[in-house]
């Protein structure tokens, strides 16, 4: 029996590390256990081919909470965020569209498509920024429990509802539209140019099993406006050294605060006695005792694999089983000899310094989704790609480049069955490269190495069940007080002293750090640890 800890955090991804750092900061003796040889979980940098450092899975930092950076001194621990300058949408015909971080420049681009849209763009930004307070309020606080009659809960609920009640009729309407409409329908209330709406709408579908015309996809558009209210220049950026740089900064912060971190220490299962956990058992048989355990793994893995159904009641087990994961995206990482030129905007200019989206029009995106619905990967997928080496040369050998492509849709449940993904992986990778090749002829000749990751691979490599990058769909019925299961959104679980602190907990996925932070703070505040 090893030394006793106040808390064991399972999983050394960014949420696990943030959680551990906050626990350590409060003086709790904390141990982080990571199964792989590298820290970071899905926010990891790996040198897959010599000299080329891939942000293997997650590749841009979107919503990482600024107060966490401050509170954990992450900048001192090496975190450097490089903002994305622009978002480029290449087209087969015409000059394509670049949306710049500089508003006036974007308006000039939009004016070419539609003067009316260019005119309305500032009003749209303003409305969205105002509404982003809703999101901020939601993601920076634990959720109230709507079924409780505890006066404190009712107060929380009232405060939460108050955000809506104090709105005037127009704002209320806008909020209810935003929360329920499809991204395309919502954008159509403002804009007329499909070419503009297509790349805007995709932020509503990333990581989901929905199309841009599916109701409920509009509210994610708000995430893009979070940066404005946080006072940051822009909310999307690279972490220097790859996404893993962010995780490493969190790890250094945690260690400096006294947390211990062990890699290559996969957990086999939780020790559970009389409905409470007393620690973990590693795959090598070692048992580690702890007063509390925080799991940053997804709910499926945590409860059905590490805890085991025998310790859970049937209703809860069923709720976890019906929790929808079904990953919908894949990743293609390329090592390039040189940067390819895009036909619609020749040259290696600033338009390649941000992200680029293969989202030429709305029908294109919908057709990609339709294929996935019936169990195929999209032959012509939505692709979001970046060339991080253009702004951070440290990730590739001199003169060489890295291209990171997020690809949707690649459904975990292909019709042959997920276990057949290894046979389809090559075809999937080719579909992605073929698609890119249309916009940047000659890309294929630039490729030195290629890494193709299907949702099945993500499950195998980092343990994301069904390859869902958010540890569970971010659909309304799986958010707020229902994440991961109705009534269990406060990081507690039916197993006493077991807490959830990953993206499968409120407020959900993306590199926010919020689930880790909120779990630790809430557990500390309620004297749970």
């Amino acid at each position: 029996m090893a030394a006793k800890y106040d808390a064991i955090v399972i999983g050394g991804g960014h949420n696990g590390l943030v959680c551990a750092a906050y626990l350590a900061k409060a003086g709790r003796k904390t141990l982080v256990l990571e199964g792989r040889h590298v820290l970071g979980g899905a926010a990891v940098t790996e040198e897959v081919y010599p000299g080329f450092k891939y942000s293997v899975f997650s590749y841009v930092v979107s919503l990482f909470r600024p107060h966490i950076i401050r509170e954990l001194n992450l900048a001192q621990h090496g975190l450097q965020l490089i903002p994305l300058e622009c978002s480029f949408t290449p087209h087969l015909e015409g000059p394509g569209l670049v949306r710049w971080s500089e508003a006036a420049r974007t308006r000039r681009e939009i004016a070419r498509l539609s003067p009316r849209d260019a005119e309305i763009q500032p009003a749209f930004s303003l409305a969205m920024t105002k509404m982003a307070f809703l999101i901020k309020n939601i993601i920076d606080n634990p959720v109230p429990d709507p079924t409780s009659l505890d006066p404190r809960e009712l107060k929380r609920l009232a405060d939460f509802g108050n955000h809506f009640l104090k709105l005037d009729a127009d704002s209320f309407h806008l909020h209810s539209q935003l929360l329920t409409m499809s991204a395309v329908d919502f954008l159509s209330l403002w804009f007329e140019s499909e070419i503009l709406m297509a790349p805007m709408s995709v932020s509503g579908i990333i990581g989901t099993f929905l199309g841009v015309r599916s109701p409920g996809t509009a509210y994610v558009l708000l995430h893009h406006y979070m940066g404005e209210i946080d006072g940051a220049f822009r909310s999307w950026g690279f972490s220097r050294g790859g996404t893993g740089g962010l995780s490493l900064a969190c790890a250094r912060a945690a260690e400096s605060l006294g947390a211990q971190i062990r890699t290559e220490a996969p957990v086999s299962h939780l020790r559970v006695q009389n409905g409470r956990t007393t620690g973990v058992v590693l795959e090598n048989g070692d048992e580690i005792e702890a007063r509390t355990v925080f799991s940053s793994l997804d709910p499926n893995r945590t409860f059905l694999r590490l805890v085991g159904e025998q310790h859970l009641d049937e209703e809860f087990t069923n709720q976890i089983k019906r929790y929808k994961l079904r990953g919908s995206s894949g990743k293609v990482n390329l090592a390039l000899d040189r940067i390819p030129e895009f036909t619609c905007r020749p040259g290696i200019g600033p338009h390649l310094m941000g992200d680029l989206a293969i989202a030429p029009n709305i029908d294109y995106l919908e057709r990609a989704y339709d294929q996935a619905k019936y169990g195929d990967f999209s032959e012509r997928p939505y692709i979001n790609a970046v060339f991080p080496s253009l702004v951070d040369p440290s990730v590739a050998p001199p003169g060489k480049h890295v291209m990171s492509c997020f690809v949707q849709y690649a459904p975990y449940h292909i019709k042959e069955g997920p276990e057949f993904w290894p046979q389809r992986r090559e075809a999937f990778g080719e579909a992605v490269i073929d698609t890119l090749e249309q916009y940047a002829p000659g890309l294929r000749d630039c490729i030195l190495h290629k890494q193709v990751l299907t949702p099945w691979d993500m499950e195998q490599m980092v343990g994301l069940s069904e390859g869902n990058i958010f540890q569970g769909e971010l659909s309304l019925e799986q958010l707020l007080f229902q994440r991961p299961a109705p009534g269990w959104a406060r990081y507690r679980t039916p197993i006493r002293d077991l807490w959830m602190c990953g993206s499968g907990a409120h407020p959900g996925g993306g590199i926010m750090g919020s689930p880790g932070e909120l779990a630790a703070k809430y557990a500390l505040q309620t004297r749970g640890v």
């Binding site: 009729a169 209320f172 309407h173 019925e477 229902q482």
Partner: protein
């Protein structure tokens, strides 16, 4: 003043609204642009000797309290629901019949899956519990969520208490289900795809959604929570009883009287002007037309605030339903149930069949293999066709109003052919029975019934359009224009043959007069 109230449109909502208002001895006039009464429920001869019963046939959502309030049984509506069976045919297999008699449904489902047969019973009781909370909300005037007063809290309190009474588990479910897509939710319950497709059908009818679209579970819950079984005599009996009740209460009905505009002076209604130039004065005008027609066609733009106009323009009314009426020289037979006659038939063997049919709409195409909601009115009413003949009245999902190639005559006929072809899969030989047909595209529906976008529910049942239906400022039947009210399906609680918007609007108008 010539009239106290003019109601525009003699559909079921217009009739219900006018009748209630006339009970207080007001002078009430209904103006109807068509020569027939009943709106979407008006039966007509579509081929010599063959009659249909209207565009919509499903009366199972008609409110019993409305039947009582208007004394419709005294006006010829036979009380009590008729036995109801919906048949889902299969090309290869026995098909499925869901009946209003639960035991029959369970036995039918057991032919496909014992587990689902057991689940179906649990599902039924579960829905029954939720109904206690949902149904009252669909039978009352909506509160304006952005402007809650003290009175509203007292108004809402019983609903909150009813929700709490459900217990934590059901209450959580009630919060969880509405934003879900009906496909996900049903698959949590049942493994038989034919069953799932059969019960998901109504949830996507009239929508711009497939079973995989989030929010479609709300439609399902709304429909099951107000389901009372179709009345005796079908939709024709409802319309005729409503008409009798209206005229019996002294309501004057003028058909063939199309409204040119609603006359407004200084923000207040003065009356209406008909297309033939007739001006009729009234203190109030109640429009059962859809919101877009009411505000954009019948009212001068200068009387609308810019904001209201914008909201109405943004209100989504993208029609996706076509209608095909078929005159047949024999009763219709289905391969999976030879010799049996069904009044209600729904095609689609699995949820993905429904979804594929919907996919086309996104690309401004009609479904190659549409989902058919078939009503055979001659089963209950043989008099609608010559002796031994029958009528099939088919709601076709999906055919978009915004059809890319345009609804030309040939496109219309191609749509009719696609419907006949699809039915042929389940009823081989049915093609040869057709002696006449009428095809109504969404554009035809728009023109014939004066329905913007050809949308059969006067606006999509999207969550946002249910919360503030139809648009902010008009959610409680009153409008910003003094004396102008709405009472059609574009208002809470939405479309279908329910009578609820009409009756609830009448109650609001009554109380505002007092």
């Amino acid at each position: 003043m010539a009239y106290d109230v003019i109601v525009i449109g003699a559909g079921h909502n217009g009739l219900a609204c006018a009748t209630i208002l006339a009970k207080e001895a007001r002078r009430v006039l209904i103006v109807e642009q068509r020569d027939v009464i009943g709106g979407l429920c008006a039966g007509e001869e579509f081929h010599p000797g063959y009659r249909h019963t209207g565009l919509l046939h499903d009366t199972s959502g008609l409110r019993p309290w409305l039947v009582e309030e208007l004394g419709l049984s005294g006006h010829g509506l036979k009380p009590g629901p008729a036995p109801h069976r919906v048949f889902s045919p299969q090309t290869d297999g026995p098909g499925l019949v869901l009946s209003s008699v639960p035991d029959e449904s369970v036995a039918e489902i057991a032919r496909h899956s014992d587990r689902d047969a057991r689940q179906f019973q649990v599902f039924g009781t579960f829905l029954g519990r939720l109904r206690k909370v949902i149904e009252p909300l669909l039978n009352k005037t909506p509160v304006n969520p952005s402007d809650l007063g003290v009175g509203d809290f007292f108004d809402l309190a019983p609903h909150g208490i009813a929700a709490r009474r459900l217990g934590k588990r059901d209450m959580m479910e009630l919060l969880r289900i509405p934003p879900m897509c009906v496909a996900d939710w049903l698959r949590e319950w049942f493994e038989t795809e034919l069953l799932n497709a059969s019960i998901a059908g109504p949830a996507i009818s009239g929508g711009w959604t497939g079973p995989w679209s989030p929010g479609t579970s709300t439609n399902f819950l709304m429909q099951t929570s107000t389901w009372n079984g179709p009345g005796q005599g079908g939709v024709a009996a409802v319309v005729s009883a409503l008409e009798n009740a209206a005229t019996g209460s002294g309501v004057e009905i003028r058909t063939g009287a199309a409204v040119k505009r609603i006359d407004i002076e200084q923000g207040a209604v003065r009356g209406i002007t008909l297309l033939d130039g007739d001006e009729i004065e009234a203190r109030s005008v109640v429009s059962s037309c859809d919101p877009r027609t009411t505000f954009l066609d019948l009212i001068s733009p200068r009387e609308l605030s810019h904001k209201l106009e914008q909201y109405v323009r943004d209100y989504r009314m993208r029609g996706t339903t076509a209608k095909v009426h078929l005159a047949l020289n024999r009763p219709l037979e289905w391969a999976s149930r030879p010799g049996e006659q069904f009044e209600y038939i729904r095609t689609g063997e699995e949820l993905d069949d429904l979804e594929r049919a919907f996919d086309a709409v996104k690309y401004r195409q009609r479904s190659e293999r549409p989902v058919l909601e078939v009503h055979v009115p001659t089963v209950a009413r043989p008099d609608l066709a010559p002796q031994g003949h029958s009528v099939a009245s088919v709601l076709v999902h999906f055919a978009p109003h915004h059809f890319e190639e345009g609804w030309s005559d040939s496109a219309r006929e191609a749509l009719g052919d696609a419907v006949v072809d699809e039915r042929e899969r389940y009823a081989p030989g049915a093609r040869d029975l057709v002696v006449g047909r009428e095809v109504l595209t969404p554009v035809d529906i728009e023109k014939r019934y004066g329905l913007a976008g050809g949308h059969i529910y006067h606006g999509e049942h999207g969550l946002d359009q249910l919360i503030t239906r139809p648009v902010p400022g008009c959610t409680g039947y009153a409008t910003p224009l003094d004396g102008l009210y709405l009472c059609g399906s574009g208002c809470h609680p939405g479309g279908g043959v329910t009578g609820a918007p009409g009756a609830l609007a009448a109650h609001v108008i009554q109380s505002s007069r007092q």
